[in-house]
């Protein structure tokens, strides 16, 4: 993997020299960001570190990659639910959790995908999505916190970035496009065009999105995210059994691997590995939940 960085550098240099108008990596902005970071954060010694980070996957590249992956997620899962109350709830609970996560300074943003399937995704840089099908299972903020905590853990553990760094996402743009085009020449042209934009970004976005949609992370990575998400929920003050309760609820309904957490390990395996926490109280059982109906982030259903 180390050997790839010189190529990325070379490609970036070529892109900047030959096709400056197309170069999405705005080096002026990057330089400004480095300068801002230098002023705002630390001493001159850290300038080299920021520069080094930009050569690899720096904060701005991570965010750009995340936004491009987010476009793929939103496009694949029916767009976003444009409901202000729902947005407020997921963002208040999500950002409460993120504040005590291992990356509290990221620009954390949460949204609900307009899809009946049950799934959740995270994109690098702090972008978290859950489907409407899963959101509707979250009858209490404890359960919602368990679900969001898992996705936050993927971002704080830099799981997607590690896939990019290992080169595991380099599966090519074609396979994701196959469903949309039966014509080989059209497919090649589309893949070439997408690869070109991917090169401008410096990452194989389509490959990463495909990997996230179809295979997800490996099982140990998912179990770690379950564990870390549970701990984060508990630290923030939510019941630690929220995620387990959500998984058990789905299991009772009958697991369908095509529509339920298709990119995650099977429900029984995940439930088995989580501590046997009691299910969180239903909203009506808690005074806080009753009060929450009149408060920001309260129940919307």
């Amino acid at each position: 993997m180390k050997a790839r960085f010189p190529f990325i550098l070379l490609a970036a240099a070529l892109a900047a020299t030959v096709v400056p108008a197309l170069s999405g990596l705005d080096f002026g902005k990057l330089t400004k960001a480095v300068n801002d970071a230098t002023k705002a954060i630390d001493t001159g010694k850290d300038v080299a570190k920021v520069g080094k980070s930009v050569v690899g996957i720096g904060p701005q590249e991570e965010r750009k990659l995340g936004e491009a992956v987010a476009v793929e997620i939103i496009g694949r899962y029916g767009g976003l639910v444009r409901d202000e109350d729902i947005m407020r709830r997921v963002n208040l609970v999500g950002r409460a959790l993120a504040r005590y996560s291992d990356r509290p300074s990221l620009d954390w943003q949460f949204a609900v995908l307009d899809s009946d399937t049950v799934n959740a995704f995270s994109a690098p840089g702090g972008l978290v999505f859950i489907t409407r099908g899963l959101y509707e299972q979250a009858d209490s903020d404890d359960v919602l916190a368990g679900i969001l905590g898992h996705e936050i853990a993927h971002i704080t553990n830099k799981n997607a970035l590690k896939i990019v760094q290992r080169g595991d996402a380099a599966t090519g743009a074609k396979s994701l496009l196959i469903n949309n085009s039966g014509d080989a020449r059209e497919l090649d042209a589309a893949a070439s065009q997408v690869s070109q934009v991917g090169s401008t970004l410096g990452f194989d976005v389509v490959g990463l999105a495909k990997r996230l949609f179809e295979k997800g992370f490996d099982a140990p990575t998912e179990y770690t995210a379950d564990h870390d998400g549970r701990a984060l929920a508990a630290t923030t003050g939510y019941a630690p059994g929220g995620l387990r309760a959500a998984l058990q609820q789905l299991q009772k309904k009958g697991e369908n691997r095509k529509t339920m957490f298709s990119s995650h390990p099977p429900l029984p395996e995940r439930i088995k590995r989580l501590p046997n926490d009691p299910a969180p109280p239903a909203p009506a059982e808690t005074v806080a939940a009753a009060d929450a109906k009149d408060q920001p982030g309260g129940e919307t259903k």
Binding site: E67, Y100, D107, V206, P281
Partner: protein, 162 residues
């Protein structure tokens, strides 16, 4: 359902046990925020007693519920356990705020616009609607300020306001 109070106590017990088991007096922890403010007392609104930058190893001197009295050299004070990590944070996390800081200095609107590269990517992938949704998401999220989150934590008695 019929006995909500014992269930709540049970949940609270699990919370306390699972959340803070990692820290005990004499152990070490790491700061994970760009700047961790130490307080004079174990209360969220207590007077500041000092600040420690990200990634510093601190000694846990005393534990009081979810609050820890920590020290690093001459600097000492109380901090909510959720603001510390049991493991050393990734050095590069120091720059997590860079994109955010840069946008604050360049964008006039509260919401950061999508990067040109991402716009170009979405257009070439013919994902214009998804791009519109993402822009709406970013604008909606920008309306929820840190102060709003802080107020939410207070009202819901979460985090350091438990």
């Amino acid at each position: 359902m019929k006995t909500p109070i014992p269930r709540l106590l049970l949940v609270a017990g699990f919370l306390a046990a699972s959340a803070y088991a990692a820290f005990e007096a004499g152990s070490f922890a790491y700061t994970k925020k760009l700047e961790t403010t130490l307080l004079a007392e174990p209360k969220p609104l207590a007077e500041p007693a000092g600040k420690i930058a990200l990634g510093h190893k601190v000694k846990v001197e005393e534990v009081k519920g979810a609050w820890l009295r920590i020290s690093e050299g001459p600097v000492a004070g109380w901090v909510y356990a959720g603001n510390l990590s049991a493991t050393k944070p990734d050095e590069s996390n120091k720059f997590d705020g860079v994109a955010f800081l840069a946008s604050k200095t360049t964008a006039t609107a509260a919401a950061r616009p999508l990067d040109d590269t991402v716009v170009q990517y979405a257009d070439q992938r013919q994902l214009g609607n998804a791009r519109g949704d993402l822009e709406w998401m970013m604008a909606s999220c920008a309306e929820i300020t840190e102060e709003t989150v802080d107020q939410f934590l207070k009202e819901q008695k979460k985090g350091e306001y438990q």
